[in-house]
């Protein structure tokens, strides 16, 4: 312990105490405690999301709402709906119906507050030539742009986060800013992400996207119903991904892409409920999962409801 000794010739500081005091003093100069900076201090000292209790989370949500209001000049609600008990979300996509129209892609952008410039899409629709070896994803076309879809000689496969039961991205994260929730959704805490992009390298599905700049989106285009772990406005330098529309699905609603799909190719439900649509699909159709051989165990099932 450093001691301040009062000697005859004045106050004597040992080196350690002196350095401590100097460091604190410098920090104080660098971050003066006015009103705006109080928020900065709070965000700097914020605990990991899973270590916070309800009161602390509420405080954080309040701080974020104040920050967003100041930034976007509109009220944005940041929710923290918890995972419903006995629920494990699963997704089904009927490849025999998908027409590749990308309606889901843009419905997702509207719902989830992605940056429009630079553009971030959580769903990529891949086009494959019929009758060829198509599991070779690198041969697929993402930028197809015909006059009309579907085209006779192609079929389409939308790819988004597969919500793996064994997610490689989570293991790659050095700060535990991403994890799997009890209902199976893999989430990112944008306040904890340091932007190293290890998770993007680890993801075999290209489902994670990085904010290279401050997200470009007009304030009036921002969806004000958000979730802390979902579609709340993001920062420059953080990774984001599909969350099965956590802000909707944890309130019982279908994800935005399910409701947008004009051909009803997208199915969603509780894998633990034997009467759910997704269970019906798994039990009655031939389903497959993308890159099953990687042992990621996705909860995203592709199937062909109509053999043709």
């Amino acid at each position: 312990m450093g001691k301040i000794e009062k000697k005859k010739d004045g106050i004597h500081l040992d080196r350690r105490s002196f350095l401590k005091g100097a460091a604190l003093g410098l920090a104080g100069i660098a971050l003066p405690l006015n009103k705006a900076d109080a928020s900065l201090w709070e965000s700097l000292l914020q605990k990991h999301f899973k270590e916070m209790n309800d009161a602390e989370i509420k405080q954080v949500l309040g701080r974020l709402e104040r920050e967003y209001e100041e930034k976007y000049k509109k009220e944005i609600k940041v929710g923290n709906e918890k995972a419903l008990p006995g629920v494990l979300f699963g997704y089904g996509l009927d490849l025999s119906r998908c027409i590749g129209c990308r309606t889901c892609v843009y419905a997702c952008v509207e719902e989830n507050n992605q940056s429009k410039d630079p553009q971030i899409h959580w769903i990529s629709v891949l086009r494959f030539k019929k009758g060829e070896k198509w599991v070779d994803l690198e041969e697929s076309e993402k930028y197809y742009n015909p006059e009309k879809v579907p085209e006779d000689e192609y079929f389409y496969m939308p790819v988004q986060c597969q919500q793996c039961e064994n997610p490689p991205c989570v293991r790659a994260c050095p700060t535990q800013a991403t994890w799997k929730e009890p209902d199976g959704i893999v989430v990112v805490d944008y306040n904890w992400c340091i932007g190293c992009r290890y998770c993007m390298a680890a993801c075999p599905y290209g489902a994670r996207h990085f904010n290279w700049t401050e997200p470009g989106r007009k304030p009036e285009e921002i969806n004000p119903r958000t979730h802390y772990l979902g579609n709340r406005p993001r920062y420059k330098g953080v990774v984001e991904k599909c969350t099965f529309c956590i802000q909707r699905t944890r309130n019982g609603r279908y994800p935005a892409c399910v409701e947008a799909c004009p051909v009803g190719a997208r199915k969603f439900g509780n894998l633990l409920d034997p009467n759910s649509e997704i269970r019906y699909a798994i039990e009655h159709k031939r389903v497959f999962r993308l890159k099953e051989d990687l042992n990621t165990n996705p909860k995203f099932y592709y199937f062909f409801a109509y053999g043709r």
């Binding site: 027409i99 129209c101 197809y144 579907p150 609603r253 649509e277």
Partner: protein, 173 residues
């Protein structure tokens, strides 16, 4: 003796399985009880329904012929080419549809009519697999009638213009 015990065991097992299985089969039947599906009203062309507003009092002519009204449908019937109106529409009360067995169904329940031929699709529609659902994954769902997506006289989906492709990395300035 050992053999007899073995066969006795198998018999008991079969009986047990049957007892367990029976309620399962009964349960499966229960699911088939017709239930009301929450569907929006049928997508009529504006002003066309009720059909009786014009057809009331018209003499019923069941013979295929050139029509003064609806000829564009009759001559372009892509659904069952060679068919005729009364394969589905009811000649005596035009506000209803008519099943093959003579029963009448309302336009709100037209899926029953479609299901006469497309039984497997109807089964999947009821289960929530075929067609679009909106609403709550764990609660009230909005179903859609077959005719909301498939125009009954030409049911194949029309091709649509896709949304623009994503920006290529090479096009980012």
């Amino acid at each position: 003796m050992k053999k007899r015990m073995k066969s006795g065991c198998i018999l008991t097992l079969v009986v047990c399985l049957a007892i367990i299985g029976l309620p399962l089969i009964a349960g499966a039947e229960e699911r088939d009880i017709p239930k009301k599906f929450f569907v929006p009203p049928p997508p009529f062309s504006p002003g066309i329904f009720p059909c009786s507003q014009c057809h009331q009092g018209m003499p019923v002519n069941r013979h295929p012929r050139k029509l003064e009204m609806h000829q564009e449908i009759a001559s372009n019937l892509k659904h069952m080419p060679g068919g005729w109106c009364f394969d589905c529409h009811n000649p005596d009360n035009r506000d209803k549809l008519r099943l093959a067995n003579g029963k009448l169904v309302s336009f709100e329940e037209s899926y029953i009519l479609c299901g006469q031929c497309h039984g497997t699709i109807l089964r999947e529609w009821k289960a929530g697999l075929h067609g679009k659902r909106t609403g709550m994954w764990n609660g009230d769902k909005q179903y859609r009638l077959c005719v909301h997506c498939h125009w009954p006289h030409e049911p194949r989906f029309k091709a649509i213009k896709p949304f623009p492709p994503p920006v290529k990395p090479t096009d980012i300035k």
